[in-house]
Protein backbone atom coordinates (compact mmCIF):
# COMPACT_ATOMS: atom_id res chain seq x y z
CA UNK A 1 0.00 0.00 0.00
CA UNK A 2 2.96 2.35 0.50
CA UNK A 3 4.36 1.97 -3.00
CA UNK A 4 4.80 5.37 -4.67
CA UNK A 5 3.17 5.46 -8.11
CA UNK A 6 3.50 9.19 -8.81
CA UNK A 7 6.51 11.27 -7.84
CA UNK A 8 6.78 14.84 -9.11
CA UNK A 9 9.68 17.08 -8.17
CA UNK A 10 9.78 20.82 -8.66
CA UNK A 11 7.63 20.74 -11.80
CA UNK A 12 7.32 23.93 -13.82
CA UNK A 13 4.92 24.11 -16.79
CA UNK A 14 4.35 27.18 -18.90
CA UNK A 15 1.94 28.00 -21.73
CA UNK A 16 3.66 30.79 -23.64
CA UNK A 17 4.00 33.66 -21.15
CA UNK A 18 1.72 32.08 -18.51
CA UNK A 19 3.33 29.86 -15.88
CA UNK A 20 0.68 27.23 -15.11
CA UNK A 21 2.70 25.23 -12.56
CA UNK A 22 5.44 26.77 -10.44
CA UNK A 23 7.68 24.27 -8.69
CA UNK A 24 5.10 21.63 -7.77
CA UNK A 25 6.26 18.53 -5.90
CA UNK A 26 3.92 15.64 -5.13
CA UNK A 27 4.11 12.02 -4.01
CA UNK A 28 1.12 9.69 -4.47
CA UNK A 29 0.96 6.18 -3.07
CA UNK A 30 -0.71 3.22 -4.76
CA UNK A 31 -4.44 3.03 -4.06
CA UNK A 32 -4.75 6.58 -2.68
CA UNK A 33 -7.87 8.64 -3.47
CA UNK A 34 -6.85 12.28 -3.60
CA UNK A 35 -9.06 15.31 -4.05
CA UNK A 36 -7.53 18.40 -5.67
CA UNK A 37 -9.34 21.68 -5.14
CA UNK A 38 -8.63 25.32 -5.83
CA UNK A 39 -9.94 28.31 -7.74
CA UNK A 40 -10.00 28.47 -11.55
CA UNK A 41 -6.50 28.85 -13.00
CA UNK A 42 -4.84 27.28 -9.97
CA UNK A 43 -3.06 24.66 -12.11
CA UNK A 44 -5.23 21.63 -11.21
CA UNK A 45 -5.75 20.41 -14.78
CA UNK A 46 -2.13 21.15 -15.67
CA UNK A 47 -1.02 18.93 -12.78
CA UNK A 48 -3.06 16.06 -14.27
CA UNK A 49 -1.52 16.64 -17.70
CA UNK A 50 1.95 16.37 -16.17
CA UNK A 51 0.98 12.98 -14.75
CA UNK A 52 -0.33 11.62 -18.07
CA UNK A 53 2.60 13.04 -20.00
CA UNK A 54 0.66 15.57 -22.06
CA UNK A 55 1.97 18.57 -20.11
CA UNK A 56 5.51 19.57 -21.08
CA UNK A 57 7.82 20.22 -18.13
CA UNK A 58 10.22 23.10 -18.59
CA UNK A 59 11.84 22.31 -15.25
CA UNK A 60 11.73 19.49 -12.74
CA UNK A 61 10.90 15.83 -13.29
CA UNK A 62 8.01 13.43 -13.00
CA UNK A 63 8.13 9.69 -12.37
CA UNK A 64 4.87 7.83 -13.01
CA UNK A 65 4.32 4.08 -12.54
CA UNK A 66 8.05 3.58 -12.20
CA UNK A 67 9.03 5.41 -15.40
CA UNK A 68 10.51 8.86 -15.65
CA UNK A 69 8.50 10.90 -18.16
CA UNK A 70 10.83 12.01 -20.93
CA UNK A 71 8.56 13.14 -23.76
CA UNK A 72 8.91 9.82 -25.62
CA UNK A 73 7.30 7.36 -23.22
CA UNK A 74 4.11 9.37 -22.54
CA UNK A 75 2.07 7.35 -25.03
CA UNK A 76 2.97 4.03 -23.38
CA UNK A 77 2.20 5.39 -19.93
CA UNK A 78 -1.15 6.83 -21.02
CA UNK A 79 -2.29 3.30 -21.90
CA UNK A 80 -2.21 2.65 -18.13
CA UNK A 81 -3.85 5.92 -17.05
CA UNK A 82 -7.60 6.43 -17.26
CA UNK A 83 -8.60 10.03 -17.93
CA UNK A 84 -12.08 11.52 -17.57
CA UNK A 85 -12.57 15.16 -18.48
CA UNK A 86 -15.59 17.35 -17.93
CA UNK A 87 -18.66 17.01 -20.16
CA UNK A 88 -18.21 18.42 -23.64
CA UNK A 89 -20.78 19.13 -26.28
CA UNK A 90 -20.72 16.29 -28.81
CA UNK A 91 -22.28 16.63 -32.26
CA UNK A 92 -25.60 14.72 -31.93
CA UNK A 93 -25.20 13.45 -35.50
CA UNK A 94 -21.77 11.88 -34.86
CA UNK A 95 -21.95 8.33 -36.26
CA UNK A 96 -20.41 6.64 -33.23
CA UNK A 97 -22.33 4.67 -30.61
CA UNK A 98 -21.90 4.62 -26.83
CA UNK A 99 -20.48 1.10 -27.02
CA UNK A 100 -17.92 2.10 -29.66
CA UNK A 101 -16.87 5.08 -27.53
CA UNK A 102 -16.41 2.88 -24.46
CA UNK A 103 -14.46 0.29 -26.47
CA UNK A 104 -11.92 3.02 -27.39
CA UNK A 105 -10.62 2.54 -23.84
CA UNK A 106 -8.94 -0.75 -24.75
CA UNK A 107 -7.45 0.46 -28.07
CA UNK A 108 -4.31 1.95 -26.51
CA UNK A 109 -3.26 -1.26 -24.74
CA UNK A 110 -4.37 -3.31 -27.75
CA UNK A 111 -1.95 -1.49 -30.05
CA UNK A 112 -2.04 -1.04 -33.82
CA UNK A 113 -3.18 -3.73 -36.28
CA UNK A 114 -5.21 -5.67 -33.68
CA UNK A 115 -8.94 -5.88 -33.12
CA UNK A 116 -10.58 -6.19 -29.67
CA UNK A 117 -10.78 -9.82 -28.57
CA UNK A 118 -13.97 -11.55 -27.41
CA UNK A 119 -12.74 -11.23 -23.81
CA UNK A 120 -12.31 -7.47 -24.25
CA UNK A 121 -15.79 -7.18 -25.75
CA UNK A 122 -17.10 -9.03 -22.70
CA UNK A 123 -15.27 -6.59 -20.43
CA UNK A 124 -16.96 -3.72 -22.29
CA UNK A 125 -20.36 -5.34 -21.67
CA UNK A 126 -19.60 -5.85 -17.99
CA UNK A 127 -18.39 -2.29 -17.49
CA UNK A 128 -21.42 -0.84 -19.32
CA UNK A 129 -23.58 -2.89 -16.95
CA UNK A 130 -21.61 -1.73 -13.92
CA UNK A 131 -21.91 1.99 -14.70
CA UNK A 132 -25.60 1.55 -15.49
CA UNK A 133 -25.73 2.44 -19.19
CA UNK A 134 -25.91 -1.02 -20.80
CA UNK A 135 -29.38 -0.15 -22.13
CA UNK A 136 -27.89 2.88 -23.95
CA UNK A 137 -25.01 1.00 -25.58
CA UNK A 138 -26.32 1.32 -29.17
CA UNK A 139 -27.38 4.94 -28.82
CA UNK A 140 -25.29 7.61 -30.64
CA UNK A 141 -22.83 9.14 -28.17
CA UNK A 142 -24.07 12.65 -28.98
CA UNK A 143 -27.56 11.74 -27.77
CA UNK A 144 -26.62 11.21 -24.12
CA UNK A 145 -27.38 13.60 -21.29
CA UNK A 146 -24.44 15.06 -19.33
CA UNK A 147 -24.70 12.46 -16.56
CA UNK A 148 -25.00 9.56 -19.02
CA UNK A 149 -22.05 10.90 -21.01
CA UNK A 150 -19.90 10.96 -17.87
CA UNK A 151 -20.89 7.39 -17.07
CA UNK A 152 -19.76 6.45 -20.59
CA UNK A 153 -16.47 8.33 -20.03
CA UNK A 154 -15.89 6.50 -16.74
CA UNK A 155 -16.76 3.20 -18.46
CA UNK A 156 -14.20 3.96 -21.18
CA UNK A 157 -11.55 4.64 -18.56
CA UNK A 158 -12.46 1.41 -16.70
CA UNK A 159 -12.21 -0.66 -19.89
CA UNK A 160 -8.66 0.65 -20.08
CA UNK A 161 -7.99 -1.24 -16.80
CA UNK A 162 -5.92 1.69 -15.57
CA UNK A 163 -3.36 1.78 -12.78
CA UNK A 164 -4.16 5.46 -12.20
CA UNK A 165 -7.45 7.31 -12.59
CA UNK A 166 -7.39 11.04 -13.39
CA UNK A 167 -10.75 12.79 -13.11
CA UNK A 168 -10.78 16.39 -14.25
CA UNK A 169 -13.95 18.07 -13.02
CA UNK A 170 -16.13 15.08 -14.01
CA UNK A 171 -19.15 16.60 -12.27
CA UNK A 172 -18.94 20.06 -13.87
CA UNK A 173 -21.86 21.13 -16.09
CA UNK A 174 -24.19 18.33 -15.00
CA UNK A 175 -27.24 18.57 -12.74
CA UNK A 176 -27.16 17.74 -9.03
CA UNK A 177 -28.83 14.34 -9.38
CA UNK A 178 -26.29 13.30 -12.01
CA UNK A 179 -23.46 14.69 -9.84
CA UNK A 180 -24.64 12.58 -6.95
CA UNK A 181 -24.82 9.47 -9.16
CA UNK A 182 -21.32 10.05 -10.57
CA UNK A 183 -19.86 10.49 -7.07
CA UNK A 184 -21.54 7.28 -5.91
CA UNK A 185 -20.21 5.52 -8.99
CA UNK A 186 -16.67 6.71 -8.24
CA UNK A 187 -17.04 5.44 -4.70
CA UNK A 188 -18.16 2.04 -6.02
CA UNK A 189 -15.31 1.92 -8.56
CA UNK A 190 -12.68 2.77 -5.95
CA UNK A 191 -14.00 0.19 -3.50
CA UNK A 192 -13.97 -2.47 -6.21
CA UNK A 193 -10.65 -1.76 -7.93
CA UNK A 194 -8.63 0.31 -5.38
CA UNK A 195 -7.21 2.27 -8.30
CA UNK A 196 -5.02 5.27 -7.43
CA UNK A 197 -7.32 8.23 -8.11
CA UNK A 198 -6.82 11.99 -8.43
CA UNK A 199 -10.11 13.86 -8.50
CA UNK A 200 -10.03 17.53 -9.52
CA UNK A 201 -12.88 19.88 -8.75
CA UNK A 202 -13.38 23.56 -8.04
CA UNK A 203 -16.81 22.88 -6.56
CA UNK A 204 -16.46 21.78 -2.93
CA UNK A 205 -19.93 20.25 -2.87
CA UNK A 206 -18.80 17.61 -5.41
CA UNK A 207 -15.84 16.37 -3.41
CA UNK A 208 -16.16 12.57 -3.04
CA UNK A 209 -16.55 11.39 0.54
CA UNK A 210 -13.86 8.74 0.03
CA UNK A 211 -11.03 11.31 -0.36
CA UNK A 212 -8.11 10.29 1.83
CA UNK A 213 -6.06 13.40 1.17
CA UNK A 214 -6.86 16.88 -0.07
CA UNK A 215 -4.50 19.01 -2.12
CA UNK A 216 -5.25 22.73 -2.20
CA UNK A 217 -3.82 24.51 -5.23
CA UNK A 218 -3.45 28.23 -5.82
CA UNK A 219 -1.50 30.26 -8.39
CA UNK A 220 0.18 27.19 -9.89
CA UNK A 221 1.46 25.86 -6.58
CA UNK A 222 0.38 23.28 -4.03
CA UNK A 223 -0.69 25.75 -1.38
CA UNK A 224 -1.52 23.23 1.33
CA UNK A 225 -2.25 19.54 1.60
CA UNK A 226 -3.38 17.17 4.30
CA UNK A 227 -6.29 15.14 5.58
CA UNK A 228 -9.79 16.31 4.65
CA UNK A 229 -10.38 17.04 8.33
CA UNK A 230 -7.52 19.52 8.49
CA UNK A 231 -8.13 21.12 5.08
CA UNK A 232 -11.89 21.58 5.17
CA UNK A 233 -11.85 24.46 7.60
CA UNK A 234 -13.65 27.70 6.82
CA UNK A 235 -10.60 29.88 7.41
CA UNK A 236 -8.41 27.68 5.18
CA UNK A 237 -10.95 27.60 2.35
CA UNK A 238 -11.67 31.32 2.64
CA UNK A 239 -7.97 32.07 2.24
CA UNK A 240 -7.69 29.58 -0.66
CA UNK A 241 -10.57 31.03 -2.68
CA UNK A 242 -10.07 34.63 -1.58
CA UNK A 243 -13.72 34.93 -0.60
CA UNK A 244 -15.79 33.83 2.39
CA UNK A 245 -16.42 30.08 2.03
CA UNK A 246 -18.42 27.84 4.31
CA UNK A 247 -17.99 24.07 4.23
CA UNK A 248 -20.96 22.57 2.31
CA UNK A 249 -23.09 20.36 4.55
CA UNK A 250 -22.98 17.43 2.13
CA UNK A 251 -19.20 17.06 2.54
CA UNK A 252 -19.26 17.37 6.32
CA UNK A 253 -18.63 13.61 6.42
CA UNK A 254 -15.11 14.22 5.05
CA UNK A 255 -14.32 16.13 8.20
CA UNK A 256 -15.27 13.28 10.48
Amino acid sequence: MDKTVISIQDAVVSYREDVALQGVSLEVKKGEFIGIIGPNGAGKTTLLTVINGLGKLIHGQARVLGSRLNGRNGNDLRKRIGYVAQVERIDPRLPISVRETVTVGCYGRLGLFRRPTRAQQKTVDEVLEMVGIAHLSQRPIGHLSGGEYQRAAIARALVQQPDIFLLDEPTASIDQKAQHEILNLMKLVHRQYHTTTLFVTHDLSTLPSICQRLILMKDGRIWQQGSPQSMLQEEVLTELYGAPISVPSNIASLQM
Binding site: N52, L54, N75, D76, L77, R78, K79, R80, I81, Y83, A85, E88, I90, D91, P92, R93, L94, P95, I96, S97, E100, T101, V104, G105, Y107, G108, R109, L110, L112, F113, R115, P116, H135, L136, Q138, R139, P140, I141, H143, A153, R156, Q160
Partner: protein
Protein backbone atom coordinates in the same frame (compact mmCIF):
# COMPACT_ATOMS: atom_id res chain seq x y z
CA UNK B 1 -26.09 2.68 -74.30
CA UNK B 2 -23.53 2.99 -77.04
CA UNK B 3 -21.52 5.67 -75.19
CA UNK B 4 -19.88 2.90 -73.14
CA UNK B 5 -18.24 1.48 -76.27
CA UNK B 6 -15.88 4.43 -76.50
CA UNK B 7 -12.47 3.90 -74.94
CA UNK B 8 -12.41 7.42 -73.45
CA UNK B 9 -15.79 6.75 -71.84
CA UNK B 10 -14.57 3.49 -70.30
CA UNK B 11 -11.60 5.39 -68.84
CA UNK B 12 -13.95 8.09 -67.56
CA UNK B 13 -16.22 5.51 -65.91
CA UNK B 14 -13.21 3.91 -64.23
CA UNK B 15 -11.92 7.32 -63.11
CA UNK B 16 -15.40 8.14 -61.74
CA UNK B 17 -15.48 4.89 -59.79
CA UNK B 18 -12.02 5.36 -58.28
CA UNK B 19 -12.25 9.12 -57.74
CA UNK B 20 -15.77 8.82 -56.33
CA UNK B 21 -14.70 6.22 -53.77
CA UNK B 22 -11.47 7.94 -52.68
CA UNK B 23 -12.84 11.47 -52.43
CA UNK B 24 -15.89 10.32 -50.49
CA UNK B 25 -13.97 8.15 -48.04
CA UNK B 26 -11.60 11.03 -47.27
CA UNK B 27 -14.65 13.30 -47.13
CA UNK B 28 -16.12 11.24 -44.28
CA UNK B 29 -13.16 12.22 -42.09
CA UNK B 30 -13.31 15.84 -43.20
CA UNK B 31 -17.03 16.04 -42.38
CA UNK B 32 -17.03 14.14 -39.09
CA UNK B 33 -13.98 16.01 -37.78
CA UNK B 34 -15.31 19.39 -38.96
CA UNK B 35 -12.25 20.07 -41.11
CA UNK B 36 -14.10 21.51 -44.09
CA UNK B 37 -12.15 24.75 -44.25
CA UNK B 38 -8.82 22.96 -43.84
CA UNK B 39 -9.83 20.69 -46.74
CA UNK B 40 -10.69 23.65 -48.98
CA UNK B 41 -7.30 25.14 -48.16
CA UNK B 42 -5.47 21.90 -49.09
CA UNK B 43 -7.48 21.65 -52.34
CA UNK B 44 -6.43 25.13 -53.40
CA UNK B 45 -2.82 24.45 -52.45
CA UNK B 46 -2.87 21.39 -54.75
CA UNK B 47 -4.28 23.56 -57.51
CA UNK B 48 -1.55 26.19 -57.04
CA UNK B 49 1.15 23.49 -57.02
CA UNK B 50 -0.15 21.96 -60.23
CA UNK B 51 -0.11 25.37 -61.93
CA UNK B 52 3.47 25.93 -60.73
CA UNK B 53 4.37 22.61 -62.36
CA UNK B 54 2.75 23.65 -65.61
CA UNK B 55 4.48 27.03 -65.55
CA UNK B 56 7.94 25.64 -64.78
CA UNK B 57 7.49 22.62 -67.05
CA UNK B 58 7.48 19.71 -64.58
CA UNK B 59 4.71 17.20 -63.90
CA UNK B 60 1.79 19.20 -62.43
CA UNK B 61 0.79 16.26 -60.22
CA UNK B 62 4.15 16.45 -58.44
CA UNK B 63 3.62 20.16 -57.83
CA UNK B 64 0.08 19.46 -56.58
CA UNK B 65 1.28 16.72 -54.25
CA UNK B 66 4.09 18.82 -52.76
CA UNK B 67 1.89 21.88 -52.25
CA UNK B 68 -1.02 19.93 -50.76
CA UNK B 69 1.23 18.03 -48.35
CA UNK B 70 2.97 21.28 -47.36
CA UNK B 71 -0.42 22.93 -46.79
CA UNK B 72 -1.54 19.98 -44.63
CA UNK B 73 1.70 20.24 -42.63
CA UNK B 74 1.15 23.97 -42.05
CA UNK B 75 -2.61 24.21 -41.43
CA UNK B 76 -2.68 21.29 -38.95
CA UNK B 77 -0.42 22.95 -36.35
CA UNK B 78 -1.98 26.35 -37.05
CA UNK B 79 -5.42 24.95 -36.22
CA UNK B 80 -4.04 23.11 -33.18
CA UNK B 81 -1.99 25.79 -31.48
CA UNK B 82 -4.65 28.44 -31.57
CA UNK B 83 -2.14 31.29 -31.61
CA UNK B 84 -4.50 32.97 -34.03
CA UNK B 85 -8.12 32.10 -34.58
CA UNK B 86 -7.82 28.96 -36.78
CA UNK B 87 -10.35 30.34 -39.27
CA UNK B 88 -8.27 33.50 -39.65
CA UNK B 89 -4.92 31.79 -40.11
CA UNK B 90 -6.26 29.06 -42.41
CA UNK B 91 -8.12 31.76 -44.35
CA UNK B 92 -4.83 33.61 -44.86
CA UNK B 93 -3.12 30.43 -46.13
CA UNK B 94 -6.14 29.74 -48.36
CA UNK B 95 -6.02 33.21 -49.90
CA UNK B 96 -2.24 32.92 -50.35
CA UNK B 97 -2.73 29.66 -52.28
CA UNK B 98 -5.41 31.20 -54.45
CA UNK B 99 -3.15 34.21 -55.07
CA UNK B 100 -0.24 31.92 -56.04
CA UNK B 101 -2.52 29.94 -58.37
CA UNK B 102 -3.52 33.10 -60.23
CA UNK B 103 0.08 34.34 -60.23
CA UNK B 104 1.39 31.14 -61.85
CA UNK B 105 -1.50 31.23 -64.29
CA UNK B 106 -0.71 34.83 -65.20
CA UNK B 107 3.00 34.08 -65.69
CA UNK B 108 2.33 31.26 -68.18
CA UNK B 109 3.13 31.91 -71.81
CA UNK B 110 0.83 31.09 -74.73
CA UNK B 111 -2.40 29.08 -74.60
CA UNK B 112 -3.49 27.96 -71.16
CA UNK B 113 -5.73 25.05 -72.14
CA UNK B 114 -4.00 22.60 -69.81
CA UNK B 115 -4.20 25.07 -66.94
CA UNK B 116 -7.89 25.63 -67.57
CA UNK B 117 -8.39 21.86 -67.58
CA UNK B 118 -6.97 21.85 -64.05
CA UNK B 119 -9.60 24.43 -63.14
CA UNK B 120 -12.60 22.48 -64.40
CA UNK B 121 -11.27 18.99 -64.76
CA UNK B 122 -11.57 16.77 -67.83
CA UNK B 123 -12.75 13.32 -66.91
CA UNK B 124 -13.39 12.56 -70.60
CA UNK B 125 -9.70 12.95 -71.46
CA UNK B 126 -8.28 10.96 -68.56
CA UNK B 127 -5.33 8.85 -69.67
CA UNK B 128 -4.02 5.45 -68.64
CA UNK B 129 -1.38 6.99 -66.34
CA UNK B 130 -4.00 9.04 -64.50
CA UNK B 131 -6.10 5.90 -63.98
CA UNK B 132 -3.11 4.00 -62.59
CA UNK B 133 -2.29 6.85 -60.18
CA UNK B 134 -5.94 7.10 -59.14
CA UNK B 135 -6.22 3.32 -58.65
CA UNK B 136 -3.06 3.25 -56.55
CA UNK B 137 -4.35 6.14 -54.42
CA UNK B 138 -7.73 4.44 -53.95
CA UNK B 139 -6.01 1.19 -52.93
CA UNK B 140 -3.72 2.94 -50.45
CA UNK B 141 -6.46 5.12 -48.90
CA UNK B 142 -9.01 2.29 -48.57
CA UNK B 143 -6.30 -0.05 -47.28
CA UNK B 144 -5.13 2.45 -44.65
CA UNK B 145 -8.70 3.06 -43.51
CA UNK B 146 -9.26 -0.70 -43.12
CA UNK B 147 -6.00 -1.22 -41.23
CA UNK B 148 -6.30 1.80 -38.92
CA UNK B 149 -10.09 1.85 -38.67
CA UNK B 150 -10.27 1.63 -34.89
CA UNK B 151 -7.67 4.37 -34.37
CA UNK B 152 -9.40 6.61 -36.93
CA UNK B 153 -12.75 6.02 -35.24
CA UNK B 154 -11.24 6.97 -31.87
CA UNK B 155 -9.74 10.18 -33.29
CA UNK B 156 -13.05 11.11 -34.95
CA UNK B 157 -14.87 10.47 -31.68
CA UNK B 158 -12.58 12.65 -29.57
CA UNK B 159 -8.99 13.43 -30.50
CA UNK B 160 -7.85 14.44 -27.01
CA UNK B 161 -9.37 11.33 -25.46
CA UNK B 162 -7.77 9.15 -28.13
CA UNK B 163 -4.43 10.70 -27.15
CA UNK B 164 -5.21 10.18 -23.46
CA UNK B 165 -5.77 6.42 -23.87
CA UNK B 166 -2.42 5.97 -25.61
CA UNK B 167 -3.47 6.05 -29.28
CA UNK B 168 -1.01 7.93 -31.55
CA UNK B 169 -3.80 10.43 -32.27
CA UNK B 170 -1.56 13.17 -33.66
CA UNK B 171 -0.02 10.80 -36.23
CA UNK B 172 -3.49 9.57 -37.24
CA UNK B 173 -4.78 13.16 -37.53
CA UNK B 174 -1.92 14.28 -39.76
CA UNK B 175 -2.23 11.03 -41.72
CA UNK B 176 -5.83 11.99 -42.49
CA UNK B 177 -4.79 15.50 -43.56
CA UNK B 178 -2.04 14.10 -45.83
CA UNK B 179 -4.51 11.55 -47.24
CA UNK B 180 -6.76 14.45 -48.14
CA UNK B 181 -3.82 16.09 -49.95
CA UNK B 182 -2.93 12.92 -51.87
CA UNK B 183 -6.58 12.28 -52.81
CA UNK B 184 -7.01 15.81 -54.10
CA UNK B 185 -3.82 15.48 -56.14
CA UNK B 186 -4.92 12.16 -57.66
CA UNK B 187 -8.36 13.53 -58.61
CA UNK B 188 -7.21 16.97 -59.79
CA UNK B 189 -7.00 16.03 -63.45
CA UNK B 190 -10.42 14.37 -63.38
CA UNK B 191 -12.59 16.75 -61.41
CA UNK B 192 -10.59 19.99 -61.48
CA UNK B 193 -9.01 22.16 -58.82
CA UNK B 194 -12.01 24.37 -58.19
CA UNK B 195 -14.53 21.54 -58.05
CA UNK B 196 -12.68 18.68 -56.38
CA UNK B 197 -13.56 19.81 -52.92
CA UNK B 198 -17.28 19.54 -53.61
CA UNK B 199 -16.83 15.86 -54.45
CA UNK B 200 -15.01 15.37 -51.15
CA UNK B 201 -17.60 17.24 -49.12
CA UNK B 202 -21.01 16.58 -50.72
CA UNK B 203 -21.25 12.75 -50.75
CA UNK B 204 -19.87 12.50 -47.20
CA UNK B 205 -22.15 15.28 -45.95
CA UNK B 206 -25.11 13.50 -47.58
CA UNK B 207 -24.16 10.19 -45.93
CA UNK B 208 -23.79 12.03 -42.60
CA UNK B 209 -27.51 12.83 -42.78
CA UNK B 210 -28.53 9.21 -43.17
CA UNK B 211 -26.79 7.00 -40.60
CA UNK B 212 -25.41 6.77 -37.06
CA UNK B 213 -22.88 4.10 -38.06
CA UNK B 214 -19.41 5.14 -39.25
CA UNK B 215 -18.98 1.98 -41.35
CA UNK B 216 -22.32 2.56 -43.08
CA UNK B 217 -21.43 6.22 -43.55
CA UNK B 218 -18.22 5.22 -45.37
CA UNK B 219 -20.12 2.84 -47.66
CA UNK B 220 -22.98 5.25 -48.36
CA UNK B 221 -20.57 8.14 -49.03
CA UNK B 222 -18.55 5.99 -51.46
CA UNK B 223 -21.76 4.96 -53.26
CA UNK B 224 -22.91 8.59 -53.49
CA UNK B 225 -19.46 9.62 -54.77
CA UNK B 226 -19.53 7.02 -57.54
CA UNK B 227 -23.17 7.78 -58.44
CA UNK B 228 -22.31 11.52 -58.61
CA UNK B 229 -19.43 10.83 -60.98
CA UNK B 230 -21.33 8.43 -63.23
CA UNK B 231 -24.57 10.42 -63.36
CA UNK B 232 -22.59 13.62 -63.93
CA UNK B 233 -20.67 11.90 -66.69
CA UNK B 234 -23.82 10.79 -68.48
CA UNK B 235 -25.34 14.28 -68.08
CA UNK B 236 -22.14 15.80 -69.47
CA UNK B 237 -22.31 13.50 -72.51
CA UNK B 238 -26.02 13.94 -73.14
CA UNK B 239 -26.25 17.69 -72.66
CA UNK B 240 -22.73 18.64 -73.76
CA UNK B 241 -21.88 20.43 -70.51
CA UNK B 242 -18.55 20.47 -68.59
CA UNK B 243 -18.11 17.11 -66.83
CA UNK B 244 -16.61 18.49 -63.58
CA UNK B 245 -19.50 20.90 -63.16
CA UNK B 246 -22.14 18.24 -63.85
CA UNK B 247 -20.51 15.85 -61.33
CA UNK B 248 -20.50 18.51 -58.63
CA UNK B 249 -24.08 19.58 -59.36
CA UNK B 250 -25.20 15.92 -59.17
CA UNK B 251 -23.47 15.48 -55.80
CA UNK B 252 -25.11 18.68 -54.55
CA UNK B 253 -28.55 17.38 -55.59
CA UNK B 254 -27.85 14.11 -53.72
CA UNK B 255 -26.90 16.13 -50.64
CA UNK B 256 -30.10 18.16 -50.91
CA UNK B 257 -32.23 15.00 -51.16
CA UNK B 258 -30.38 13.31 -48.27
CA UNK B 259 -30.91 16.37 -46.07
CA UNK B 260 -34.60 16.59 -47.01
CA UNK B 261 -35.20 12.92 -46.16
CA UNK B 262 -32.72 12.67 -43.29
CA UNK B 263 -33.98 10.59 -40.34
CA UNK B 264 -31.80 12.83 -38.15
CA UNK B 265 -34.24 15.67 -38.76
CA UNK B 266 -36.94 13.81 -36.90
CA UNK B 267 -36.73 15.29 -33.44
CA UNK B 268 -35.32 12.91 -30.83
CA UNK B 269 -36.81 9.79 -32.37
CA UNK B 270 -34.17 7.86 -30.42
CA UNK B 271 -35.96 8.72 -27.19
CA UNK B 272 -38.72 6.30 -28.10
CA UNK B 273 -36.59 3.58 -29.65
CA UNK B 274 -32.78 3.33 -29.43
CA UNK B 275 -31.11 3.58 -32.82
CA UNK B 276 -28.91 0.82 -34.07
CA UNK B 277 -27.41 2.53 -37.04
Amino acid sequence: MDIFQYHFMQNAILAGLLGGITCSVVGVFVVTMHLSFIGVCIAHAAFAGALLGLWLGFNPLIGALLFSLAAAAVVGPVADRGELNPDTSIGIIFSLMLGLAFLFMGLMQGARTEALNLFWGSILTVGRQDIIFLAATTGVIVGLVAVFYKEIQAVICHREIALAVGIPATVIFYGLLFSTGVTITASLQTIGGLLIYCLILNPAAAAYQLTYSLKKMLLIAAAFGVISCWAGLVASYLFDIPSGASIVITSSIIFGLATAFSPKRKVKRWQQAPLTG
